[in-house]
Each structure stands twice: as structure tokens, then as C-alpha cells.
Symmetry: C2
Subunit: 299 residues, 2 copies
């Protein structure tokens, strides 16, 4: 398939092409639903989630505007550019100490409370117009994986409808998914806080709504799409249930895991993906090795 | 517009045609989002919600299978065909007594608990294949309003994307919205119970998730679509915020209220719509009088 020109020939590319051939023969177009995780599957998630960079900038802005806040975490760390504090909060969480993560979550949840959804979207657009990846030397908007973007186009050309199903923020992704992936806002499923309808406007609250990870991904695919997907791509343990749900249908299906094993061109890590990678073989999921299967990582 | 051939010429039809003309000139196609309430706006909601008929049959089935249940409400009323009990539960609620409504809600919420979403959908399809409106002498699938279905097609022809935004059950509507309205499941927004992901399958729970009414309609339009609509149609007080949200955008917009004033061809009632009808003039919403604006009500 010339559309997949950044993919090396091999079993993974063959699995994709074979599946698409069977799907176009056996599955009506309206049932050709494909779901993609985002962080680590469509765009780079290291050294930190892109959304965390956006949020730390906001926390620093809030600290600059309010000296009382500046003396507290997570604002103090944000204002000092102490990104290690944020990483430590997550590490402590995995070691059973949630205290720092709760402080961080409180700051993140209230970061945009009271702002209209349109103003929030404008801030995200401004961020993506400026911000660059700290080590890859490219704008975040150029941190999407070229082979995966080719895969989105290839599926689309074959009558599939692509959705993003991410643990990242729904409203954080929406301003850039049309230009980066050709995926419109109505096909972005992600984590969210609640909204209030006040005086004719929708405003962000500080109340969590969905944490779109693990089994919640499967639940929300049904809630949003009303169909079981036949293709799913992910890269971490949080994608396992979405891949299992996709595999459980009666017709052709394919699951794909992106393996981050390319320290030279991107990053090499398995943390957070151990269980998914262990399950790949017994589950029949294809694995895309960034190092071996992709001729280019970025455009 | 010959597409609107069941609409009489007059201010309401003109308001629709004028709005669509402005929208196609000034609004890019991806922003031409139209939202439609369902019960009383697209299909008949009297003498009772169609979904209540479906649920009462299920409660009667559960009563027949379990004598202990049959001795309790709401199963006793369902088994006896005592539909007045269900109406009274709602009337009592409006008079400040929630006791019967809580009993009813408990029965409704648990009616399909544990069933897979696919099996649930099959039961809904079976219901619609058989069930007929109790007084109109036609299948429920022929209880959609012809002029509104023409309006869906007219908007679509002009580059709009139509969504259903209903207080009715999301998963109850989905099996029939493609054939009745040309609206696929991913564009149906409605009330729902939570789902569990168990052993690779999605199963219905008895836990309420969304009651999609009033301000929640506006919130969930953003959650699902990520855009403010430019056209909204409703018929009751529960549609007010959706209409207000639609009217608040910067460009052309139109709100439309269906007025049930045709006892001869459908029903005549204003209960539950008083406030919406009061607001119509000051808000600039068009009002479709079933009696005066529609040459036919049903196909």
C-alpha cells in the first residue's frame, strides 16, 4: 500500500493491510469504526504529557497573579519551573503515596474553573501556536507520528471513521485534532471536567467528569459512538480494555500496539505498557516497533 | 422550498428558509450543526412516551417470571395493564410527592441491568417491529412527524449535520433513528444508565448516568459535538436552555418550537411547554403550529 509509505514491509504492515482488505469486503462502511489512543499512540508523550506543559504554564500564570497561591503547591513548583516536582507526584502515587498527586489534581482541576469553553479553546490554540517540544526541536503540532497519520488516512480512504479515545483532556485535544489528524471535535473522546450552563454560556467547572482510561474507554466508545470498533490502536495498559472490546466482535478486527523502542528518534520505554505488551501475543494484537516498523517517526 | 412540501407558506416556513439561506452563505459546513429534541418534536409523545410502553412491557415480563416481584409496584401495575398508575406517579411528582416516582424509577433503572448492550438493542428492535400507537392506528415507527423529517432532509441537503438531543433513552432511540430520521447512532444524545465492561462485553447497570434535560442538554451538546449549534428544535420547557445556547452564537441561528394544537390530527396540549411557549416571542424563536403550519402530520 503506497499510502503507508513510512511503514517498512513486514508482519505488522501486512497485518494492517490484510485486515483492511477483509474489512472492506465483509463490513459495511458505517460499521468500520476505528479508535486511536492519543498520548504515545498518535503523538509523543515523553518526557511529559503535552497537556502537562500547558497546565504548568497556567499554574505559573496563576501564581504570578496571586502571591498567596505562589506560596503553595503545585503553583510554587510551576512558578519555579520545577518539573521534577510534578514527576515526583506521579512516582509517589505509584508507590502508594497520593498526597502530592491530590495537591496536583486540585490545581489542575481548578486551573480553568469559571472560564467559557470558547475562551479555554482559544488559550489552547495560542499554546499550540507557540509551544515546542523540549528536546525534539519541533513544535508540538509536529509531534504526531507520521506513520500513524498515514494509517488514519489509509483507513479513511477505505471507508473507516476514525475516533480518538484518549486519557488526555477532550477539550485540550479538540482545537488541534482537525489539523493534525483530520479528526473533527465530535470524534474526540477524552477525559473531562463538568461544565455549567450559566447565562447562556458553557463554563468549565472544577468537578471531574470522566477519567477516560481503562474500562472507561470501552464504556465511552459505546456512549459516544453506539458501535463496537473493528480497529483499535494504543500503547499502554490503559488501552487494554479498548483493545479487548474491539477484538470481541463477530467479524474482522485488529488491535495494534505502538512499542516505544527507538531512543535515537523518539524515546525508549515500557513503563506503563508492561501488561499490554505481555498480552499482545496471546491476544493477537499487532505490535508496531517504532525502531523496526517505521522508516520515519515524524514528518 | 419544495423539500418542505408538508409546510404551509407563512412566517414559520419563511423563517426556516431565510435562516438556511443565511447559514449557507455565512457559516462553513462543519459549523452547521442542528439539534432536535425527539419526544414531541420529532415523534409523538402522547398519550405516553413511547419508551414507557416499552418499559411497561418489560416490567410485566419480569412480573410474569417472578411472583415476588408481581406483588410489588411498579410490576403489579405493569402486569395489570394499569397505565393510570404510571401517569399518577408523574402527577404526584409535580404535586410534590415523589414516592411513586421513586418506585417507578427503581423499576425502570433495573429493567435491563446486567444485559449486554447488543441484547438490549435487539429487544428494542423487536419492540419497534411489532408495537403500534394505542390511538393513532399506526406503528410507532410511523409516528415521526413528516414535516420535521422533511426539515431534517432539507437541512442535510444544505450541508447541516443533524443531532438528536432528547430526554429519552440514548440506547432506546438508536436502533430506529437511522431508518426513521437518517440520524446514525453516534449522533444520538439522550439519557442513559451507566455501563460496565465485564469479560469483554458492555453490560447495562441500574445506575443513572445522564438525565438529558434542561441545562444538561446544552452541556452534553458540547461534550459530544464540541460546537455550539446554529439550529435547535424543541417543544417543551426542557428544551429552553438548548434553544438559548443555540441563539447565543455570533452568527445566524434559529430556534424552533413545535406547538401541539391539533387535537384532530395529533394531540392538543401545552402542559410542560408553558414556559417555553411564553419565551418564544421575546427570544425570537419560530413556532410551528401543528394545526396551521403543517399540511400533513404523518406520512
Amino acid at each position: 500500500m503506497e499510502e503507508l509509505h513510512s511503514w517498512n514491509d513486514g508482519p505488522t504492515k501486512s497485518a494492517i493491510v490484510d485486515f483492511v482488505g477483509r474489512a472492506t469486503e465483509q463490513v459495511p462502511p458505517e460499521e468500520r469504526v476505528a479508535v486511536f489512543d492519543n498520548d504515545g499512540t498518535l503523538w509523543c508523550e515523553k518526557p511529559a504529557y503535552i497537556q502537562l506543559d500547558f497546565l504548568v504554564r497556567r499554574l505559573a500564570e496563576q501564581a504570578a497573579a496571586d502571591p498567596a497561591l505562589a506560596a503553595e503547591q503545585p503553583y510554587q513548583a510551576a512558578a519555579a519551573g520545577d518539573l521534577a516536582w510534578f514527576g515526583d507526584a506521579v512516582t509517589k502515587h505509584y508507590n502508594g503515596d497520593d498526597s502530592a498527586l491530590k495537591v496536583l489534581a486540585g490545581g489542575i482541576l481548578s486551573a480553568y474553573a469559571g472560564m467559557s469553553v470558547e475562551d479555554h479553546a482559544d488559550r489552547i490554540k495560542d499554546f499550540f501556536a507557540e509551544a515546542r517540544h523540549p528536546s525534539l526541536g519541533r513544535p508540538y503540532t509536529a509531534c504526531g507520528y507520521l506513520p500513524m497519520i498515514e494509517l488514519l488516512r489509509y483507513l479513511e480512504t477505505n471507508g473507516f471513521t476514525n475516533y480518538i479515545v484518549s486519557g488526555g483532556g477532550r477539550d485540550f485535544m479538540r482545537p488541534v485534532t482537525p489539523s493534525m489528524y483530520g479528526v473533527p471535535p465530535e470524534r474526540v473522546i477524552g477525559s473531562s471536567v463538568g461544565l455549567d450552563f450559566v447565562d447562556g454560556e458553557l463554563r468549565t467547572t472544577a468537578t471531574p467528569e470522566f477519567l477516560n482510561d481503562g474500562p472507561v474507554k470501552a464504556v465511552r466508545i459505546w456512549g459516544r459512538v453506539g458501535r463496537r470498533p473493528i480497529f483499535a490502536a494504543g500503547n499502554s495498559n490503559g488501552d487494554i480494555q479498548m483493545l479487548q472490546y474491539t477484538a470481541g466482535g463477530p467479524g474482522p478486527s485488529l488491535g495494534l500496539l505502538v512499542r516505544h523502542d527507538d531512543a535515537a528518534r523518539e524515546f525508549s520505554y515500557t513503563a506503563g505498557a508492561e501488561k499490554a505488551l505481555d498480552l499482545a501475543e496471546s491476544s493477537g494484537w499487532a505490535v508496531a516497533s517504532m525502531r523496526d516498523d517505521w522508516t520515519s517517526v515524524f514528518d
